[in-house]
């Protein structure tokens, strides 16, 4: 416990309350507890005093004592519940005194009033962020017992569902609750006459269904009073329902949809959930509601372009989101402070003396929350459709906002801003125009210097797009010395970062000049390059092969690279062609061979390698057309006329039986392959 300095007279009165708990006369103890109850209500100072003076262990003792009257036990639970309503420190002290097992034990008592008091206190303790939720699951008998108490009264229903919705934080928790019949037990509460019960039951379903296919699939088939659960949720989203209820019902349907239990083109999603979430983003809603609404909506439509298109035209959503950046404005700050205060008052009267200072902090936090939510939603909206991206970038000051978002202090905002930028960077047009005009690469590069992995993944992924050949940002990025940075990413433990690093290098090497290519090879180092060629992640392998292919483009480059690294490259190629790899990987490798075959001096590295030639022959007769095509292309390059030594190569390959294969391939059903083989055969005829 913290050291608390109290005026002596205050301590004396508080001391008196505690002393009375030790009176030998049970009647006097009861009166003492009741007086204590009246003294602590809404009085945080008094609560802290009593805790410091050791009231909690004594109250717990009285509560657990079988000899205590049920009235006394209930009053003890009420006082403890009141103490829990104070500050987070109070909760910590209570939890340290093992209040949770004591109260859970109390639930076994048949007396309903006592049970309700225990549950009320447990509820207050569990909804605090300082309480470890795991404490609910330590004793396996607790959850089934709580389920059985759901039928006792509206109060038990309210408190238990509230505990569940706050203590369900992981898939394991979801499974435990699900296995103990949470759905069947809680579903009927959705039509309870009590609003609080309905609301808490609804919240339970939202946490149960989140990213949980099993729960979601079960939910769609549940009937409440002969009505499908999804229809119950739809009714709860009606516009005359309280906002909290609309929003939570929309969350439930969103999670069920994302878990695959409801189709994205179902009218309850398209015509109800989506519009409801868009409404939650409107200026009329409270800050928290706007944040949650935007985040949920972003989540709902993330994988579905059709929903993105619908949302983009619903109620001017794109323009509406721009308002998220106008907070706190001088006017809204004042009104919203009032609103927040009002809201706080409703929750707990004892928090009445929330200072203006903390409210302003609250405001600032909200400003961050609003911005990151808007960025997330923009990212989701623009992830597939070019028109939507255009609409977003044309929103007032959009690019400036993203640019400043990239360098905000809050990691959450930075991450969301870079996600948004990434989503927009998929547009060729935006890369050419707005991205270049706003020099987004600068803050992006800065962001890459020192950021948490999740930000790095997004930022490097965006960088890949900015390094595309047609992007005007490519040049300045190259000049900023990005190569070292990207090479270091390829050494990361995270496969996503490795892919992005090598991907960016691959894009960078595409049609690059010799100087850049040389720099890439030098900076990456052959060792790292070959390490990447044996990377367990096939994406990394693909992009590394892509990089190799881009490095081995025009003839002088091919010869230069091969003269310095020819041996290792040929080794790596052999290994990959022999290994267990996907068609795409092998095709890419054969393409590299074809590029090598296009070099002047590099050709010889193939011609002198019988093993490789046998492999090419093998792939020309492969069942996959793509591989046949790539292998044929390779041979075609080797036997091309007008090049020094073409006659010798043609002769050697004829000896090895390639002409017969080419001849056969001229009869191939695939027109491309057929054409390619014919062109190759013509080299012999000329």
């Amino acid at each position: 416990t913290k050291c608390v300095h109290l005026p002596p007279e205050v301590t004396a009165t508080s001391r008196h309350y505690v002393d009375r708990l030790f009176d030998p006369d049970p009647q006097k103890v009861l009166q003492g507890v009741i007086d204590m109850k009246n003294a602590v209500i809404g009085n945080n100072k008094q609560k802290a005093n009593l805790i410091v003076l050791g009231a909690v262990p004594r109250l717990l003792y009285l509560l657990q004592q079988g000899s205590s009257s049920s009235e006394l036990r209930a009053e003890c639970a009420v006082v403890l519940g009141s103490l829990a309503m104070g500050t987070e420190n109070n909760i910590k002290s209570l939890v340290d005194c093992h209040i949770i097992p004591a109260l859970l034990q109390g639930l076994l008592c048949p007396d309903l009033i006592f049970i309700e008091a225990c549950l009320r206190c447990l509820r207050t303790v569990f909804i605090s962020p300082v309480t470890p939720v795991q404490l609910l699951y330590t004793d396996p008998t607790v959850i089934p017992h709580l389920m059985s108490l759901l039928s006792r009264s509206q109060r038990t229903q309210e408190y238990i569902t509230q505990i569940f919705s706050h203590c369900c934080k992981t898939p394991e928790h979801q499974t435990v609750l699900f296995n103990h019949g949470a759905i069947q037990n809680i579903a009927p509460l959705l039509i309870s006459p009590s609003y609080k019960v309905r609301m808490q039951a609804l919240k339970c379903f939202s946490v149960l269904a989140y990213e949980n296919t099993q729960v979601s699939m079960t939910l769609v088939n549940v009937l409440v009073d002969e009505e499908l659960l999804s229809q119950v949720f739809v009714r709860m989203m009606q516009r005359d329902q309280p906002i909290d209820m609309q929003l939570t019902a929309a969350k439930c349907l969103t999670y069920m949809c994302r878990a695959g239990a409801i189709r994205t083109d179902d009218s309850c999603i398209v015509l109800k959930t989506l519009p409801c979430l868009v409404r939650m983003c409107s200026k009329e809603r409270l800050l928290e509601e706007r944040v949650e609404g935007a985040e949920t909506l972003a989540y709902l439509m993330e994988p579905d372009v059709e929903l993105q298109r619908i949302a983009s035209v619903t109620d001017h959503l794109v323009a509406m989101l721009a308002d998220y950046f106008k907070y706190p404005s001088s006017v809204s700050a004042i009104t919203d402070i009032k609103r927040v205060r009002h809201w706080t008052l409703l929750i707990e009267p004892s928090q009445q003396h929330t200072t203006l200072h903390t409210t302003l902090d609250h405001d600032l936090k909200h400003a961050h929350e609003l911005r990151q939510a808007a960025f997330k939603l923009y990212a989701s909206l623009g992830s597939n459709d070019e028109d939507i991206r255009k609409k977003i970038t044309e929103t007032e000051n959009m690019m400036d906002r993203i640019v400043s978002g990239l360098s905000e202090s809050s990691v959450k905002v930075r991450l969301a801003a870079v996600r948004c930028l990434h989503s927009l960077s998929r547009s060729v047009q935006q890369l050419r125009t707005s991205f270049h005009d706003h020099a987004v690469w600068k803050p992006l590069m800065k962001l890459l210097q020192n950021a948490p992995d999740e930000v790095l993944v997004m930022a490097s992924s965006t960088l890949c797009n900015l390094l595309l050949e047609f992007s005007p940002s490519k040049e300045p990025i190259l000049e900023s010395g990005v190569i070292e940075l990207l090479c270091s990413l390829t050494q990361s433990d995270s496969p996503a970062l490795r892919v992005n690093g090598i991907w960016a290098l691959m894009n960078m090497a595409f049609q690059a000049d010799q100087k850049v290519k040389g720099e890439i090879v030098r900076a990456l180092g052959t060792e790292q390059l070959f390490r990447l060629l044996s990377d367990p992640d096939s994406n990394v392998l693909m992009k590394t092969l892509g990089l190799l292919r881009n490095l081995l483009s025009t003839r002088p480059h091919i010869d230069q690279v091969m003269s310095s690294h020819g041996k290792q490259i040929m080794q790596a190629v052999t290994l990959i062609l022999e290994g267990e790899h996907s068609i795409e990987v092998k095709e890419q490798t054969l393409c590299i061979l074809a590029n090598i075959a296009d070099g002047n001096t590099a050709k010889e590295l193939i011609m002198t390698n019988d093993d490789i030639l046998q492999k090419i022959k093998y792939y020309m007769a492969h069942s996959n057309v793509k591989l046949q095509l790539a292998a044929t292309f390779c041979i075609s390059n080797l036997i091309w006329n007008e090049e020094d030594g073409s006659q010798e190569r043609q002769d050697k390959l004829r000896e090895l039986g390639f002409v017969d294969i080419l001849h056969k391939l001229t009869q191939a059903s695939d027109p491309n392959l057929c054409d390619r083989a014919k062109t190759a055969m013509q080299q012999y005829l000329a």
Partner: protein, 617 residues
Amino acid sequence: FESLDKLAVTGTHNPLTLHLKNLDYLLLGDPAFNYQEAELNERLKRLYPAVNEDETPLPRSWSPKDKYSYIGLSQNNLRVHYKGHGKNHKDAASVRATHPIPAACGIYYFEVKIVSKGLDFLSSLLPLSPIPGWDKHSYGYHGDDGHSFCSSGTGQPYGPTFTTGDVIGCCVNLINNTCFYTKNGISLGVAFTDLPPNLYPTVGLQTPGEIVDANFGQQPFVFDIEDYMSEWRAKIHGMIARFPIGERLGEWQAVLQNMVSTYLVHHGYCATATAFARATETLIQEDQTSIKNRQRIQKLVLAGRVGEAIEATQQLYPGLLEHNPNLLFMLKCRQFVEMVNGTDSEVRCFSIRSPKSQDSYPGSPSLSPRHGATNPNLHSAGADSPTCSNGVTPPNKNKSHNKYPGVSSASSSSSSSPSSVNYSESNSTDSTKSQPHSGTSNQEETSDSEMEIEAEHYTNGVAENPSARIMNGTYKHQEILQAQDISLEDSCASRQLCGGNQAATERMIQFGRELQGLNEQLCREYGKNVTHKKMLQDAFSLLAYSDPWNCPVGQQLDPMQRENICSALNSAILESQNLPKQPPLMLALGQATECVQLMARVRSGSCSFARVDNFLH
């Protein structure tokens, strides 16, 4: 990347057509049309309950008069097709609905389905203006570029484009004078603000082969307009509920208390009014005795004992009826009707009654003296004893009158335990709670008026006696109950002319002659009075039928008919005492109702969601 053509037209399932086909076999004539017509009326009534279609009819179809010649109409003037050249903008043509959108709609909505491609623009709204000036003050949403245009040729980027198969809706919010469009059930957001009044739904086309179908409510809408309305209803109700009263809280409370108090006093609910005044520490303007007198007279009228009521009025308020000959005539006419009914005491004294009811029936002669005697009794005992709760019976009546469904249980239980009904419905002051303990024995002496005692007794057994039922206040319903519950012979007996007594009938005929005489006298003194003549005719017509209760003028015999005359008499008495003839509550209610109607006329859309009956339960 683009291609909005994939936009699925979800939710445009249209079961209506199916229904129509089925019904074709069942009905004669043009059943499809009738059925659709009925469905349309029902839907419009549900959507726009505040609209008075006599004053402001709702749009139901396109107007064959207000259209360009390039426009063709079919399918009950709901389908529009273009028959012009469609070469340039000059060939554009439009048609508007038969009527402008009434402001009392609050929120108005219609949809258009694009049946055939090539639609160039859908202008949706036009204010009332001469046909040549159509382009001015028009508001629209173009299908080809998704732009909105407002009174000018240059549009603003607004929404997506639309084409064949799309359902485009237009919602006009007459509360904040904005408008938004929908596409396939999705709201596209506000398009216009500060809209002028008297807009017409309109559609415009420009390309040959274009066809659009309108839905003014003929079919379910794709967009959930009722959900949108519910939001505004909740908003406006919230606004009313949270109307700021600021520092005037106390003042408001006083006004409300006064309203309740005066209402109780007006209707003569003396004991309740007294209890209320005591609880709220307010004063009652009118003298206790005066209230009770009025209460007594009202009860007599409501019991159908009009003769006694006249007598009591003359005795307590001498000169009142002499100064109101019209009222007197009305009362006498009613007395005649009640004689036919067998309820007026002038004929009742002849009736043969069951011993039980005769015993318990106190009879009119003893009424006045005993009443006078009970008054002081009340004053002494009423202050701290539960007596006053007895006087609460009348509110019971009033309550039940307003909502019949709730009454049935109360009235059926009244036969077994009448007292419990009374107490349960009385205002629960502490004193009333103790009443059951005091038992029935002291009811007779403590009750502040004879009528309650009567009520207790009659409900105990003599179910066919209408006066008892009236006392309980459930007469209308009990009348129905009577037909169902009471055995046939009983009801037949009670339903004979003048109670089936010969002497009574003679007395009635004699009274009829006197009434005729009174009418002639009034004619001489004040000139002919059409209302009186009609009243008299109607009353006398009752005698022309063998069963007056089941005849074209039998309505008069309904105890409900006593209410008007009762309140007229009550108002006259109050006026004679220089008291308001209407209670302020009723005035306020009337004023509120008027205001809401006025709002509709001055085009304030919120009237549609601020209806007075929403707040009356």
